[in-house]
Protein backbone atom coordinates (compact mmCIF):
# COMPACT_ATOMS: atom_id res chain seq x y z
CA UNK A 1 0.00 0.00 0.00
CA UNK A 2 1.49 3.27 -1.06
CA UNK A 3 2.01 6.71 0.37
CA UNK A 4 -0.27 8.06 -2.34
CA UNK A 5 -3.12 5.81 -1.15
CA UNK A 6 -2.48 6.94 2.42
CA UNK A 7 -2.71 10.56 1.28
CA UNK A 8 -6.12 9.95 -0.30
CA UNK A 9 -7.66 8.93 3.04
CA UNK A 10 -9.19 11.60 5.18
CA UNK A 11 -7.71 12.39 8.53
CA UNK A 12 -10.03 10.61 10.94
CA UNK A 13 -12.48 12.85 12.70
CA UNK A 14 -12.41 13.06 16.47
CA UNK A 15 -16.14 12.55 16.33
CA UNK A 16 -15.39 8.88 15.67
CA UNK A 17 -15.43 6.71 18.77
CA UNK A 18 -12.04 5.22 17.91
CA UNK A 19 -10.34 8.56 17.40
CA UNK A 20 -11.95 10.69 20.04
CA UNK A 21 -9.18 10.69 22.59
CA UNK A 22 -5.92 10.46 20.65
CA UNK A 23 -6.19 12.25 17.31
CA UNK A 24 -4.02 11.31 14.37
CA UNK A 25 -2.15 14.61 14.53
CA UNK A 26 -0.83 13.64 17.99
CA UNK A 27 0.32 10.26 16.74
CA UNK A 28 1.86 11.13 13.40
CA UNK A 29 5.66 11.07 13.88
CA UNK A 30 6.41 14.37 12.12
CA UNK A 31 3.16 16.28 12.21
CA UNK A 32 3.10 16.56 8.41
CA UNK A 33 -0.10 14.62 8.31
CA UNK A 34 -0.20 13.51 4.68
CA UNK A 35 3.42 12.48 4.49
CA UNK A 36 5.02 9.15 5.26
CA UNK A 37 8.68 9.58 6.28
CA UNK A 38 11.08 7.39 4.32
CA UNK A 39 13.60 6.81 7.10
CA UNK A 40 11.85 4.09 9.07
CA UNK A 41 14.03 1.35 10.52
CA UNK A 42 12.63 -2.14 10.60
CA UNK A 43 12.28 -3.52 14.10
CA UNK A 44 14.36 -6.59 14.86
CA UNK A 45 12.21 -9.72 15.07
CA UNK A 46 13.66 -12.89 16.60
CA UNK A 47 11.89 -16.17 17.26
CA UNK A 48 12.91 -18.91 19.69
CA UNK A 49 11.43 -21.44 22.04
CA UNK A 50 10.96 -20.45 25.68
CA UNK A 51 12.58 -23.65 26.90
CA UNK A 52 15.66 -23.12 24.71
CA UNK A 53 14.87 -26.04 22.40
CA UNK A 54 14.98 -25.78 18.62
CA UNK A 55 12.01 -24.35 16.79
CA UNK A 56 9.86 -27.38 15.95
CA UNK A 57 8.92 -28.21 12.40
CA UNK A 58 5.60 -26.71 11.55
CA UNK A 59 6.55 -23.27 12.84
CA UNK A 60 8.41 -20.77 10.71
CA UNK A 61 9.10 -17.06 10.65
CA UNK A 62 10.10 -15.62 7.32
CA UNK A 63 10.48 -12.14 5.94
CA UNK A 64 8.77 -11.32 2.67
CA UNK A 65 8.72 -8.23 0.51
CA UNK A 66 5.57 -7.31 -1.29
CA UNK A 67 3.72 -4.09 -1.87
CA UNK A 68 0.26 -5.43 -1.24
CA UNK A 69 0.08 -8.38 1.07
CA UNK A 70 -2.10 -7.34 3.99
CA UNK A 71 -4.56 -9.97 5.14
CA UNK A 72 -7.41 -7.56 5.54
CA UNK A 73 -8.73 -4.62 3.60
CA UNK A 74 -8.37 -1.34 5.40
CA UNK A 75 -9.51 2.19 4.94
CA UNK A 76 -8.03 3.30 8.22
CA UNK A 77 -5.60 6.20 8.07
CA UNK A 78 -3.25 4.74 10.68
CA UNK A 79 -3.13 1.32 9.06
CA UNK A 80 -2.55 2.83 5.64
CA UNK A 81 0.29 4.85 7.14
CA UNK A 82 1.93 1.76 8.61
CA UNK A 83 1.52 -0.21 5.39
CA UNK A 84 3.13 2.63 3.46
CA UNK A 85 5.93 3.07 5.98
CA UNK A 86 6.96 -0.60 6.13
CA UNK A 87 8.38 -0.43 2.60
CA UNK A 88 6.78 -3.73 1.61
CA UNK A 89 8.47 -5.68 4.39
CA UNK A 90 6.35 -8.23 6.19
CA UNK A 91 7.24 -10.94 8.71
CA UNK A 92 5.14 -14.07 8.34
CA UNK A 93 4.79 -16.34 11.31
CA UNK A 94 3.30 -19.53 10.00
CA UNK A 95 2.01 -22.35 12.14
CA UNK A 96 1.07 -25.34 10.05
CA UNK A 97 -2.07 -27.39 10.49
CA UNK A 98 -2.13 -29.85 13.39
CA UNK A 99 0.88 -28.28 15.09
CA UNK A 100 0.80 -28.96 18.79
CA UNK A 101 3.63 -27.76 21.01
CA UNK A 102 4.08 -28.05 24.75
CA UNK A 103 6.48 -25.13 25.31
CA UNK A 104 5.64 -21.54 24.35
CA UNK A 105 7.19 -19.89 21.35
CA UNK A 106 8.97 -16.63 22.17
CA UNK A 107 8.94 -13.76 19.68
CA UNK A 108 11.03 -10.71 20.49
CA UNK A 109 10.37 -7.48 18.62
CA UNK A 110 12.93 -4.79 19.34
CA UNK A 111 12.34 -1.30 18.01
CA UNK A 112 15.35 1.00 17.68
CA UNK A 113 16.20 4.34 16.14
CA UNK A 114 14.19 7.47 15.66
CA UNK A 115 11.38 5.81 13.69
CA UNK A 116 10.73 2.10 13.75
CA UNK A 117 8.17 -0.15 12.10
CA UNK A 118 7.10 -3.75 11.95
CA UNK A 119 4.42 -5.62 10.05
CA UNK A 120 3.72 -9.13 11.24
CA UNK A 121 1.25 -11.68 9.96
CA UNK A 122 0.34 -14.71 11.99
CA UNK A 123 -1.35 -17.68 10.35
CA UNK A 124 -2.36 -20.55 12.55
CA UNK A 125 -3.36 -23.71 10.72
CA UNK A 126 -6.42 -25.77 11.60
CA UNK A 127 -6.33 -28.02 14.68
CA UNK A 128 -3.19 -26.39 16.07
CA UNK A 129 -2.48 -25.76 19.72
CA UNK A 130 0.18 -23.13 20.44
CA UNK A 131 1.23 -20.61 23.06
CA UNK A 132 3.22 -17.57 22.00
CA UNK A 133 4.94 -14.99 24.17
CA UNK A 134 5.49 -11.67 22.44
CA UNK A 135 8.01 -9.22 23.87
CA UNK A 136 7.95 -5.66 22.53
CA UNK A 137 10.92 -3.61 23.65
CA UNK A 138 13.43 -1.02 22.49
CA UNK A 139 14.37 2.62 22.61
CA UNK A 140 12.68 3.80 19.43
CA UNK A 141 11.34 7.33 19.55
CA UNK A 142 8.34 6.25 17.49
CA UNK A 143 7.29 2.68 16.83
CA UNK A 144 4.49 1.46 14.63
CA UNK A 145 3.36 -2.16 14.80
CA UNK A 146 0.83 -3.70 12.48
CA UNK A 147 -0.07 -7.24 13.46
CA UNK A 148 -2.56 -9.37 11.63
CA UNK A 149 -3.67 -12.85 12.49
CA UNK A 150 -5.81 -15.57 11.05
CA UNK A 151 -6.50 -18.42 13.40
CA UNK A 152 -7.85 -21.47 11.61
CA UNK A 153 -10.59 -23.82 12.68
CA UNK A 154 -10.56 -25.87 15.87
CA UNK A 155 -7.38 -24.22 17.14
CA UNK A 156 -6.13 -23.27 20.55
CA UNK A 157 -4.09 -20.08 20.32
CA UNK A 158 -2.93 -18.46 23.54
CA UNK A 159 -0.62 -15.48 23.64
CA UNK A 160 0.95 -13.17 26.19
CA UNK A 161 2.21 -9.76 25.07
CA UNK A 162 4.52 -7.58 27.10
CA UNK A 163 4.92 -4.05 25.82
CA UNK A 164 7.89 -2.52 27.59
CA UNK A 165 9.17 0.11 25.21
CA UNK A 166 11.16 3.12 26.36
CA UNK A 167 9.11 5.43 28.62
CA UNK A 168 9.68 8.19 26.04
CA UNK A 169 8.38 6.31 23.00
CA UNK A 170 5.28 6.95 21.00
CA UNK A 171 3.72 3.63 20.10
CA UNK A 172 1.06 3.06 17.48
CA UNK A 173 -0.27 -0.47 17.39
CA UNK A 174 -3.00 -1.71 15.12
CA UNK A 175 -4.17 -5.27 14.90
CA UNK A 176 -6.80 -7.32 13.11
CA UNK A 177 -7.54 -10.93 13.95
CA UNK A 178 -9.96 -13.55 12.74
CA UNK A 179 -10.69 -16.42 15.08
CA UNK A 180 -11.89 -19.42 13.09
CA UNK A 181 -14.78 -21.78 13.65
CA UNK A 182 -14.70 -23.65 16.96
CA UNK A 183 -11.35 -22.15 17.90
CA UNK A 184 -10.33 -20.73 21.24
CA UNK A 185 -7.99 -17.77 21.37
CA UNK A 186 -6.83 -15.78 24.39
CA UNK A 187 -4.58 -12.78 24.63
CA UNK A 188 -3.02 -11.31 27.76
CA UNK A 189 -1.43 -7.89 27.32
CA UNK A 190 0.81 -6.15 29.80
CA UNK A 191 1.15 -2.53 28.75
CA UNK A 192 4.04 -0.83 30.53
CA UNK A 193 6.14 1.27 28.15
CA UNK A 194 5.76 4.30 25.96
CA UNK A 195 4.71 7.82 26.80
CA UNK A 196 1.93 8.00 24.22
CA UNK A 197 0.40 4.68 23.26
CA UNK A 198 -2.52 4.00 21.01
CA UNK A 199 -3.63 0.44 20.38
CA UNK A 200 -6.44 -0.37 18.00
CA UNK A 201 -7.21 -4.05 18.34
CA UNK A 202 -9.95 -5.63 16.25
CA UNK A 203 -11.12 -9.20 16.38
CA UNK A 204 -13.81 -11.07 14.46
CA UNK A 205 -15.17 -14.36 15.73
CA UNK A 206 -16.27 -17.35 13.67
CA UNK A 207 -19.09 -19.69 14.58
CA UNK A 208 -18.47 -21.52 17.82
CA UNK A 209 -15.29 -19.50 18.47
CA UNK A 210 -14.16 -18.14 21.81
CA UNK A 211 -11.98 -15.08 22.13
CA UNK A 212 -10.86 -13.61 25.42
CA UNK A 213 -8.68 -10.57 25.85
CA UNK A 214 -7.18 -9.51 29.16
CA UNK A 215 -5.27 -6.23 29.42
CA UNK A 216 -3.30 -4.68 32.28
CA UNK A 217 -1.94 -1.21 31.85
CA UNK A 218 0.32 0.45 34.41
CA UNK A 219 0.44 4.21 33.98
CA UNK A 220 2.57 6.79 35.75
CA UNK A 221 4.18 10.16 35.05
CA UNK A 222 2.67 11.64 31.91
CA UNK A 223 1.96 8.31 30.23
CA UNK A 224 -1.14 8.10 28.10
CA UNK A 225 -2.37 4.66 27.11
CA UNK A 226 -5.34 4.52 24.77
CA UNK A 227 -6.88 1.17 23.91
CA UNK A 228 -9.59 0.92 21.32
CA UNK A 229 -11.01 -2.57 21.09
CA UNK A 230 -13.49 -3.86 18.59
CA UNK A 231 -15.02 -7.28 18.92
CA UNK A 232 -17.34 -8.42 16.19
CA UNK A 233 -19.69 -11.38 16.22
CA UNK A 234 -20.84 -11.66 12.57
CA UNK A 235 -22.23 -15.14 13.27
CA UNK A 236 -23.58 -16.68 16.47
CA UNK A 237 -22.94 -19.36 19.06
CA UNK A 238 -19.64 -17.85 20.04
CA UNK A 239 -18.21 -16.11 23.05
CA UNK A 240 -16.05 -13.05 23.63
CA UNK A 241 -14.75 -11.52 26.82
CA UNK A 242 -12.76 -8.38 27.37
CA UNK A 243 -11.22 -7.37 30.68
CA UNK A 244 -9.09 -4.24 31.12
CA UNK A 245 -7.46 -3.08 34.33
CA UNK A 246 -5.75 0.32 34.24
CA UNK A 247 -3.78 1.75 37.13
CA UNK A 248 -3.01 5.45 36.87
CA UNK A 249 -0.57 7.46 38.96
CA UNK A 250 0.96 10.93 38.57
CA UNK A 251 -0.60 12.80 35.67
CA UNK A 252 -1.13 9.70 33.59
CA UNK A 253 -4.24 8.89 31.65
CA UNK A 254 -5.81 5.62 30.55
CA UNK A 255 -8.44 5.50 27.88
CA UNK A 256 -10.35 2.39 27.01
CA UNK A 257 -12.97 2.44 24.32
CA UNK A 258 -14.69 -0.67 23.16
CA UNK A 259 -17.16 -1.53 20.47
CA UNK A 260 -18.92 -4.82 20.72
CA UNK A 261 -20.93 -5.65 17.63
CA UNK A 262 -23.30 -8.59 17.41
CA UNK A 263 -24.67 -8.80 13.91
CA UNK A 264 -28.23 -9.53 12.95
CA UNK A 265 -28.79 -13.26 13.11
CA UNK A 266 -25.75 -13.90 15.30
CA UNK A 267 -27.95 -15.59 17.89
CA UNK A 268 -26.32 -17.46 20.72
CA UNK A 269 -23.53 -14.91 21.05
CA UNK A 270 -22.25 -14.34 24.54
CA UNK A 271 -20.12 -11.25 25.12
CA UNK A 272 -18.90 -9.19 28.01
CA UNK A 273 -16.65 -6.19 28.51
CA UNK A 274 -15.33 -5.10 31.90
CA UNK A 275 -13.21 -1.98 32.38
CA UNK A 276 -11.69 -1.22 35.77
CA UNK A 277 -9.51 1.74 36.69
CA UNK A 278 -7.47 2.32 39.82
CA UNK A 279 -6.69 5.99 40.35
CA UNK A 280 -3.64 6.57 42.50
CA UNK A 281 -3.34 10.36 42.38
CA UNK A 282 -5.68 13.26 42.09
CA UNK A 283 -4.20 14.27 38.75
CA UNK A 284 -4.52 10.83 37.17
CA UNK A 285 -7.43 10.21 34.88
CA UNK A 286 -9.16 7.26 33.30
CA UNK A 287 -11.92 7.17 30.72
CA UNK A 288 -13.68 3.94 29.91
CA UNK A 289 -16.36 3.89 27.27
CA UNK A 290 -17.71 0.50 26.31
CA UNK A 291 -20.28 0.52 23.51
CA UNK A 292 -22.62 -2.21 22.42
CA UNK A 293 -24.24 -2.65 19.05
CA UNK A 294 -26.49 -5.65 19.34
CA UNK A 295 -28.67 -6.50 16.35
CA UNK A 296 -29.53 -10.10 17.22
CA UNK A 297 -32.28 -11.16 19.63
CA UNK A 298 -31.07 -14.22 21.46
CA UNK A 299 -27.76 -13.04 22.91
CA UNK A 300 -26.07 -12.30 26.18
CA UNK A 301 -24.17 -9.03 26.16
CA UNK A 302 -22.90 -7.25 29.25
CA UNK A 303 -20.58 -4.40 29.92
CA UNK A 304 -19.40 -2.47 32.93
CA UNK A 305 -16.90 0.20 33.86
CA UNK A 306 -15.66 1.34 37.25
CA UNK A 307 -13.04 3.78 38.50
CA UNK A 308 -11.95 4.05 42.11
CA UNK A 309 -9.07 5.29 44.23
CA UNK A 310 -7.09 3.00 46.53
CA UNK A 311 -9.39 1.35 49.04
CA UNK A 312 -8.36 2.65 52.50
CA UNK A 313 -9.64 -0.56 54.11
CA UNK A 314 -7.33 -2.64 51.91
CA UNK A 315 -4.46 -0.32 52.82
CA UNK A 316 -5.26 -0.66 56.52
CA UNK A 317 -5.42 -4.42 56.23
CA UNK A 318 -2.00 -4.68 54.57
CA UNK A 319 -0.40 -2.14 56.89
CA UNK A 320 -1.73 -4.10 59.84
CA UNK A 321 0.49 -6.90 58.52
CA UNK A 322 3.60 -4.75 58.76
CA UNK A 323 3.79 -3.39 55.23
CA UNK A 324 4.38 0.34 55.04
CA UNK A 325 2.26 2.63 52.93
CA UNK A 326 4.42 2.32 49.81
CA UNK A 327 4.71 -1.46 50.04
CA UNK A 328 0.97 -1.79 50.62
CA UNK A 329 0.12 0.39 47.65
CA UNK A 330 2.53 -1.52 45.42
CA UNK A 331 0.98 -4.82 46.46
CA UNK A 332 -2.55 -3.59 45.80
CA UNK A 333 -1.61 -2.14 42.41
CA UNK A 334 0.27 -5.30 41.44
CA UNK A 335 -2.66 -7.43 42.54
CA UNK A 336 -5.11 -5.24 40.66
CA UNK A 337 -3.09 -5.57 37.46
CA UNK A 338 -2.48 -9.29 37.90
CA UNK A 339 -6.17 -9.90 38.57
CA UNK A 340 -6.89 -8.96 34.94
CA UNK A 341 -5.08 -12.17 33.96
CA UNK A 342 -7.07 -14.35 36.33
CA UNK A 343 -8.90 -16.17 33.55
CA UNK A 344 -5.96 -16.77 31.24
CA UNK A 345 -6.21 -20.51 30.70
CA UNK A 346 -2.53 -21.35 30.24
CA UNK A 347 -0.19 -21.12 33.23
CA UNK A 348 2.86 -20.62 31.02
CA UNK A 349 1.35 -17.43 29.62
CA UNK A 350 -0.12 -16.04 32.84
CA UNK A 351 2.96 -16.91 34.93
CA UNK A 352 5.20 -15.14 32.44
CA UNK A 353 3.06 -11.99 32.45
CA UNK A 354 2.83 -11.99 36.24
CA UNK A 355 6.59 -12.46 36.50
CA UNK A 356 7.27 -9.57 34.14
CA UNK A 357 4.85 -7.34 36.04
CA UNK A 358 6.42 -8.22 39.38
CA UNK A 359 9.87 -7.30 38.08
CA UNK A 360 8.51 -4.05 36.68
CA UNK A 361 6.82 -3.06 39.95
CA UNK A 362 9.83 -4.07 42.06
CA UNK A 363 11.98 -1.82 39.86
CA UNK A 364 9.47 0.99 40.40
CA UNK A 365 9.80 0.61 44.17
CA UNK A 366 13.57 1.05 43.86
CA UNK A 367 13.26 4.26 41.82
Amino acid sequence: MSESYYATLEIPSQALHAWKYTPWKKLHPTGKLNEVPDDFLEAEVVISMMDGSELPSGISLIKTVSDDNSLFRYDDKAVAFLLAARNGNTWKLNIEENTVISSPVFVSIRASGHLSISHIQVQVGNNSDVEIIWSLSGEAGWFGLLREGIIGHACHYHEGVEQDLSPFSTFLRTESWNVGRDSTATSGLLSLGGELVRSDLRTTLGKGATYKQFISSNNKGNRKDNHHLQLTHPVGNNQSELVIHNSCDGKSRAISTGILTIAKGADGSDASQIFKNLLLSKNARADSIPELEVLADDVSAAHGAASAPLDPEQMFYLMSRGLDSEESESLIVGGFLIAAFKKLPRDSVSDWLKGRLTIHLDCNLLE
Binding site: R321, G322, L331, G335, K342
Partner: protein, 250 residues
Protein backbone atom coordinates in the same frame (compact mmCIF):
# COMPACT_ATOMS: atom_id res chain seq x y z
CA UNK B 1 4.25 -0.75 84.64
CA UNK B 2 5.14 -4.42 85.31
CA UNK B 3 7.68 -5.79 82.82
CA UNK B 4 5.26 -8.46 81.62
CA UNK B 5 2.58 -5.91 80.84
CA UNK B 6 2.01 -6.09 77.09
CA UNK B 7 -0.99 -3.79 76.80
CA UNK B 8 -2.02 -1.03 79.14
CA UNK B 9 -5.13 1.04 78.44
CA UNK B 10 -5.98 3.92 80.73
CA UNK B 11 -9.27 5.87 80.61
CA UNK B 12 -9.60 5.51 76.85
CA UNK B 13 -12.17 7.62 75.04
CA UNK B 14 -12.69 7.17 71.28
CA UNK B 15 -14.88 8.94 68.75
CA UNK B 16 -15.94 8.08 65.23
CA UNK B 17 -17.16 10.97 63.10
CA UNK B 18 -17.64 13.01 66.26
CA UNK B 19 -19.68 10.34 68.04
CA UNK B 20 -18.23 8.95 71.25
CA UNK B 21 -18.03 5.16 71.04
CA UNK B 22 -15.61 4.22 73.81
CA UNK B 23 -16.19 6.20 76.98
CA UNK B 24 -13.52 5.60 79.55
CA UNK B 25 -12.06 2.11 79.23
CA UNK B 26 -9.12 0.80 81.23
CA UNK B 27 -7.47 -2.58 80.85
CA UNK B 28 -4.11 -4.28 81.40
CA UNK B 29 -2.98 -7.49 79.78
CA UNK B 30 0.12 -9.41 80.77
CA UNK B 31 2.09 -11.85 78.69
CA UNK B 32 0.49 -15.33 78.86
CA UNK B 33 -2.97 -13.98 79.68
CA UNK B 34 -6.08 -14.39 77.60
CA UNK B 35 -8.63 -11.65 78.09
CA UNK B 36 -12.09 -11.98 76.64
CA UNK B 37 -14.28 -8.98 75.95
CA UNK B 38 -17.95 -9.77 75.57
CA UNK B 39 -20.78 -7.46 74.72
CA UNK B 40 -23.72 -6.83 72.51
CA UNK B 41 -23.53 -5.41 69.00
CA UNK B 42 -22.56 -1.76 69.14
CA UNK B 43 -20.97 -1.96 72.56
CA UNK B 44 -17.66 -0.70 71.14
CA UNK B 45 -15.75 -4.00 71.04
CA UNK B 46 -14.66 -3.82 67.40
CA UNK B 47 -13.92 -0.12 67.80
CA UNK B 48 -11.45 -1.06 70.53
CA UNK B 49 -9.80 -3.61 68.22
CA UNK B 50 -9.51 -1.09 65.39
CA UNK B 51 -8.20 1.66 67.65
CA UNK B 52 -5.49 -0.60 68.99
CA UNK B 53 -4.34 -1.40 65.44
CA UNK B 54 -4.52 2.27 64.42
CA UNK B 55 -7.45 2.53 62.03
CA UNK B 56 -7.46 6.14 60.79
CA UNK B 57 -11.23 6.54 61.11
CA UNK B 58 -11.09 6.35 64.91
CA UNK B 59 -9.95 9.26 67.03
CA UNK B 60 -8.61 8.88 70.53
CA UNK B 61 -10.02 11.89 72.37
CA UNK B 62 -8.77 11.06 75.85
CA UNK B 63 -6.65 8.51 77.67
CA UNK B 64 -3.50 6.56 76.94
CA UNK B 65 -2.56 3.23 75.48
CA UNK B 66 0.86 1.65 75.90
CA UNK B 67 2.05 -1.37 73.98
CA UNK B 68 5.10 -3.01 75.55
CA UNK B 69 5.79 0.30 77.26
CA UNK B 70 5.62 2.41 74.12
CA UNK B 71 2.82 4.96 73.73
CA UNK B 72 0.68 3.61 70.92
CA UNK B 73 0.12 7.09 69.53
CA UNK B 74 3.78 7.18 68.50
CA UNK B 75 3.43 4.19 66.22
CA UNK B 76 2.03 4.03 62.70
CA UNK B 77 -0.16 1.06 61.80
CA UNK B 78 2.68 -0.87 60.19
CA UNK B 79 5.00 -0.05 63.09
CA UNK B 80 2.49 -1.54 65.54
CA UNK B 81 2.49 -4.72 63.46
CA UNK B 82 6.27 -4.79 63.33
CA UNK B 83 6.38 -4.23 67.09
CA UNK B 84 4.33 -7.41 67.53
CA UNK B 85 0.66 -6.41 67.47
CA UNK B 86 -1.72 -8.53 65.44
CA UNK B 87 -5.39 -7.97 64.69
CA UNK B 88 -7.50 -10.82 63.41
CA UNK B 89 -10.17 -8.93 61.50
CA UNK B 90 -13.88 -9.52 61.86
CA UNK B 91 -14.22 -8.85 58.14
CA UNK B 92 -10.86 -9.48 56.46
CA UNK B 93 -10.28 -7.57 53.25
CA UNK B 94 -9.92 -9.28 49.89
CA UNK B 95 -6.82 -8.28 47.93
CA UNK B 96 -7.47 -9.58 44.41
CA UNK B 97 -4.42 -10.60 42.44
CA UNK B 98 -2.19 -11.05 45.51
CA UNK B 99 -1.49 -14.69 46.24
CA UNK B 100 -1.69 -15.84 49.85
CA UNK B 101 1.82 -17.31 49.64
CA UNK B 102 3.33 -14.04 48.39
CA UNK B 103 1.46 -12.02 50.99
CA UNK B 104 2.57 -14.27 53.85
CA UNK B 105 6.20 -14.14 52.75
CA UNK B 106 6.25 -10.35 52.46
CA UNK B 107 4.50 -9.92 55.77
CA UNK B 108 6.77 -12.33 57.63
CA UNK B 109 9.83 -10.62 56.13
CA UNK B 110 8.91 -7.23 57.55
CA UNK B 111 7.36 -8.28 60.87
CA UNK B 112 9.95 -10.86 61.85
CA UNK B 113 12.91 -8.91 60.60
CA UNK B 114 15.17 -9.99 63.48
CA UNK B 115 14.03 -13.60 63.31
CA UNK B 116 13.25 -13.95 59.64
CA UNK B 117 13.07 -17.56 58.55
CA UNK B 118 14.75 -18.71 55.36
CA UNK B 119 12.45 -19.60 52.49
CA UNK B 120 12.74 -23.28 53.36
CA UNK B 121 12.07 -22.64 57.05
CA UNK B 122 9.09 -20.48 56.18
CA UNK B 123 7.71 -23.19 53.90
CA UNK B 124 7.98 -25.66 56.78
CA UNK B 125 6.34 -23.23 59.17
CA UNK B 126 3.49 -22.58 56.74
CA UNK B 127 3.01 -26.29 56.21
CA UNK B 128 2.86 -26.94 59.95
CA UNK B 129 0.46 -24.05 60.57
CA UNK B 130 -1.80 -25.11 57.72
CA UNK B 131 -1.95 -28.59 59.19
CA UNK B 132 -3.14 -27.16 62.51
CA UNK B 133 -5.84 -25.25 60.64
CA UNK B 134 -6.83 -28.04 58.27
CA UNK B 135 -6.01 -25.98 55.17
CA UNK B 136 -4.59 -27.57 52.01
CA UNK B 137 -1.76 -26.36 49.81
CA UNK B 138 -4.04 -24.80 47.20
CA UNK B 139 -4.77 -22.13 49.81
CA UNK B 140 -1.39 -20.53 49.10
CA UNK B 141 -2.01 -20.02 45.39
CA UNK B 142 -5.36 -18.32 45.87
CA UNK B 143 -5.75 -14.57 46.06
CA UNK B 144 -5.99 -13.13 49.57
CA UNK B 145 -9.57 -13.58 50.79
CA UNK B 146 -10.84 -13.30 47.22
CA UNK B 147 -13.82 -15.63 46.90
CA UNK B 148 -13.08 -17.13 50.32
CA UNK B 149 -15.90 -18.46 52.46
CA UNK B 150 -16.33 -16.92 55.91
CA UNK B 151 -14.57 -19.89 57.50
CA UNK B 152 -11.64 -19.73 55.07
CA UNK B 153 -11.14 -16.05 55.82
CA UNK B 154 -10.93 -16.75 59.53
CA UNK B 155 -8.48 -19.59 58.96
CA UNK B 156 -6.27 -17.30 56.93
CA UNK B 157 -6.33 -14.77 59.75
CA UNK B 158 -5.17 -17.39 62.20
CA UNK B 159 -2.59 -18.71 59.75
CA UNK B 160 -1.12 -15.21 59.58
CA UNK B 161 -1.16 -14.95 63.35
CA UNK B 162 0.75 -18.20 63.72
CA UNK B 163 3.40 -17.12 61.24
CA UNK B 164 3.80 -13.56 62.51
CA UNK B 165 4.29 -14.74 66.11
CA UNK B 166 2.72 -11.65 67.71
CA UNK B 167 3.29 -10.37 71.23
CA UNK B 168 -0.31 -9.21 71.35
CA UNK B 169 -3.08 -10.89 69.36
CA UNK B 170 -6.40 -9.10 69.16
CA UNK B 171 -9.06 -11.45 67.82
CA UNK B 172 -12.18 -9.65 66.71
CA UNK B 173 -15.16 -12.02 66.40
CA UNK B 174 -12.87 -14.73 65.07
CA UNK B 175 -15.48 -17.33 65.96
CA UNK B 176 -18.23 -15.89 63.77
CA UNK B 177 -18.99 -17.88 60.65
CA UNK B 178 -17.15 -20.98 61.83
CA UNK B 179 -18.65 -24.44 62.08
CA UNK B 180 -17.78 -26.51 65.11
CA UNK B 181 -14.81 -28.29 63.51
CA UNK B 182 -13.35 -25.07 62.15
CA UNK B 183 -13.90 -23.42 65.52
CA UNK B 184 -11.87 -26.13 67.21
CA UNK B 185 -9.03 -25.78 64.69
CA UNK B 186 -8.96 -22.01 65.05
CA UNK B 187 -8.98 -22.40 68.83
CA UNK B 188 -6.05 -24.81 68.59
CA UNK B 189 -4.20 -22.13 66.64
CA UNK B 190 -4.91 -19.51 69.29
CA UNK B 191 -3.96 -21.85 72.12
CA UNK B 192 -0.63 -22.55 70.49
CA UNK B 193 0.52 -18.94 70.93
CA UNK B 194 -0.88 -18.05 74.36
CA UNK B 195 2.22 -18.98 76.36
CA UNK B 196 4.35 -16.46 74.47
CA UNK B 197 1.81 -13.75 73.82
CA UNK B 198 -1.03 -11.77 75.28
CA UNK B 199 -4.45 -12.34 73.74
CA UNK B 200 -7.51 -10.15 73.61
CA UNK B 201 -10.47 -12.17 72.38
CA UNK B 202 -13.56 -10.21 71.34
CA UNK B 203 -16.71 -12.24 71.07
CA UNK B 204 -20.48 -12.26 71.46
CA UNK B 205 -20.74 -15.79 72.64
CA UNK B 206 -19.15 -18.22 74.99
CA UNK B 207 -18.62 -20.98 72.42
CA UNK B 208 -15.07 -19.93 71.47
CA UNK B 209 -14.29 -19.64 75.16
CA UNK B 210 -15.14 -23.33 75.57
CA UNK B 211 -11.98 -24.00 73.58
CA UNK B 212 -9.81 -21.00 74.43
CA UNK B 213 -9.76 -20.61 78.19
CA UNK B 214 -9.70 -16.95 79.20
CA UNK B 215 -7.90 -15.85 82.32
CA UNK B 216 -10.04 -12.71 82.49
CA UNK B 217 -13.49 -11.88 81.15
CA UNK B 218 -14.75 -8.32 80.68
CA UNK B 219 -18.26 -7.29 79.75
CA UNK B 220 -18.55 -4.12 77.74
CA UNK B 221 -21.72 -2.06 77.53
CA UNK B 222 -22.03 1.32 75.88
CA UNK B 223 -18.32 1.89 75.45
CA UNK B 224 -17.09 0.94 78.86
CA UNK B 225 -16.33 -2.18 80.87
CA UNK B 226 -19.13 -2.77 83.36
CA UNK B 227 -18.12 -6.12 84.82
CA UNK B 228 -14.92 -8.09 85.14
CA UNK B 229 -14.32 -11.62 86.34
CA UNK B 230 -12.88 -15.00 85.54
CA UNK B 231 -14.11 -17.63 83.05
CA UNK B 232 -17.28 -18.10 85.12
CA UNK B 233 -18.47 -14.64 84.00
CA UNK B 234 -18.66 -15.84 80.39
CA UNK B 235 -20.90 -18.72 81.49
CA UNK B 236 -23.13 -16.32 83.40
CA UNK B 237 -23.44 -14.07 80.34
CA UNK B 238 -24.26 -17.04 78.18
CA UNK B 239 -27.02 -18.08 80.58
CA UNK B 240 -28.42 -14.71 81.57
CA UNK B 241 -27.66 -12.40 78.64
CA UNK B 242 -26.54 -8.81 79.17
CA UNK B 243 -29.58 -7.10 80.65
CA UNK B 244 -28.62 -7.82 84.24
CA UNK B 245 -25.32 -6.05 83.65
CA UNK B 246 -26.87 -2.82 82.41
CA UNK B 247 -25.76 -0.04 84.76
CA UNK B 248 -29.42 0.72 85.52
CA UNK B 249 -30.03 -2.88 86.62
CA UNK B 250 -26.73 -3.57 88.31
Amino acid sequence: MPTNCVLSISDLHVSVDGTAVIKGLSLEIQKGEVHAIMGRNGAGKSTLANVLMGHPAYEITQGEVHFNGTPLAELEVFERARAGMFLSFQYPQAIPGVQVGTFLRKSVQVVRKDDCPTNRELRDEIKAAMKVLGADNSFLARYVNDGFSGGEKKRLEILQMLLLKPKLAVLDETDSGLDIDALRMVADGINSIVDDAACLVITHYQRLLDHVKPSHVHVMIDGTIVKEGGPELAVQVENKGYDWLEPANA
